[in-house]
């Protein structure tokens, strides 16, 4: 495996971590807001 491939792979793992974290953060926020909307009278 060339150093460039290895370096891209490491970056892709970081993107995986940050990407999944980001999606869950945004989705969780939307979920909480929708739940709060449901409680509004």
């Amino acid at each position: 495996m060339s150093p460039e491939v290895w370096s891209n792979f490491i970056v892709s793992l970081k993107i995986m971590g940050q990407g999944m974290e980001g999606i869950f953060a945004v989705i969780l926020l939307i979920t909480l807001v929708v739940m709060a909307l449901g409680k509004l009278k």
Partner: protein, 383 residues
């Protein structure tokens, strides 16, 4: 008479392969009914752009100069220059989606997030197979299970493989009924697939339905601004649907606008299916990585549901049928139908359709958010 034979004599082996690819896509559309609205125009377009000296591409003619080609013009103006076609299509998609089943059980949003795992798995796999970061990210987005998002992201990232990515995205969306049952069975037991789920939806007010697209646009726009073109247009279409005062615009968005763009998008994207760009070993690799993306989307969603099942009983809550997690991809409504069909096959009378629909529409939002996040993250690492 010799000039009449110029075209025939100029056909190359790669172009012959593309005629077969075009015919194959048309066959899948007509005979199998797989995503015909996209695969048929793409298949026909693949033939059009690969005819020697094709008039649908810009051609330099002796004594005349450059004669513009319509498909090249369409691609350069509506996709390369502005990404207008895939973005505008989201107005139509938003106008068609009823978020009611999701809003009535908001917890289903989480499955939409979990089922994007395949995108990131595929990005890593693509880098291991030697693709650079921009191409790997573009290939990974096939896992969004969302054709317009795949086209948009690969175009923004200037990928060299837009054609192969579009073909893979739309083909695998059509193959969800084959791919997902296989992946679900890999990570679930029969008893897990038989878990029943009660459906007790919360009442969703009209005010919630109207506020939802506005709030989502704000949240996503502020946290993941690169997603806002996609999410914003999707949510605008949904606002037109839910506001209740734009009936004629709603009808136009759902029918004429969506149909017109779909018709042109397939033909336009075929510009990236020219033989020299498409017939290469990398295309086969992209198709394989795309398949892995769909499989790992499904596995990611199912494993997330199984993880929740470790906690829910301790909180006094009933378990979730883990197949619901698989429905968190964007391929709507195929994925929810597949999950319901599997549940009913395992346990007669087991109806989990509305839960699956909730997760499925969550996947539509999560996939466009994922698209924006991938663009932001890749650009951050390429600085």
């Amino acid at each position: 008479m010799e000039f009449l034979l110029n075209g025939i004599m100029a056909v190359t082996g790669k172009e012959l392969v593309m005629y077969l690819v075009g015919a194959g896509l048309i066959w899948l559309a007509v005979k199998k009914g797989y995503e015909p609205a996209l695969l048929l125009p793409m298949g026909f377009g693949a033939i059009l752009v690969n005819l020697p000296f094709s008039g649908v591409l810009n051609q330099t003619m002796e004594g005349i100069g450059v004669a513009p080609g319509i498909i090249q013009w369409l691609f350069e103006t509506t996709i390369a220059a502005s990404e207008a076609l895939p973005i505008l299509l989201f107005i139509g998609i938003g106008a068609m989606i009823d978020f009611g089943p999701l809003l009535s059980q908001p917890v289903m949003f989480l499955f939409g997030a979990a089922a994007q795992f395949g995108i990131f798995f595929a990005i890593s796999l693509a880098t291991l197979l030697g693709f650079d970061l921009k191409d790997a990210a573009s290939i990974g987005i096939i896992g969004a299970a969302d054709g317009p998002t795949s086209i948009l992201v690969s175009q923004i990232l200037h990928s060299n493989f837009v054609g192969a990515i579009a073909v893979a995205a739309y083909s695998y969306m059509a193959l969800v009924p084959i791919i997902q049952p296989f992946a679900i069975r890999l990570v679930t037991t029969r008893s897990e697939r038989r878990i029943p789920m009660k459906y007790n939806p919360r009442n969703v007010t009209k005010r919630t339905k109207i506020l939802f697209p506005i709030i989502v646009t704000f949240i996503v726009g502020l946290i993941a601004p690169a997603s806002v073109a996609l999410v914003g247009f999707l949510m605008f279409g949904n606002l037109v649907r839910e506001c209740g005062v734009l009936d004629s615009l709603l009808k136009t968005a759902q029918d004429e606008l969506a149909n017109l763009i779909t018709l042109l998008l397939g033909l336009t994207i075929s510009f990236s299916m020219r033989a020299e760009a498409f017939v290469r070993a990398d295309t086969l690799l992209i198709l394989l990585i795309g398949l892995a993306a769909f499989v790992f989307d499904t596995i990611g969603g199912v494993l997330f549901a199984k993880a929740l099942n470790l906690v829910l009983p301790r909180l006094g809550r009933p378990k979730i049928n883990p197949m619901i997690g698989a429905a968190g991809i964007s391929a709507f409504p195929m994925s929810s139908r597949v999950v319901q069909k599997m549940a009913a096959a395992e346990e007669r009378g087991n109806i989990i359709l509305m839960h699956a629909v909730g997760a499925n529409v969550a996947g539509q939002i999560a996939s466009v958010i994922a698209g924006g996040l991938v663009i932001s993250l890749v650009s951050q690492y390429l600085r």
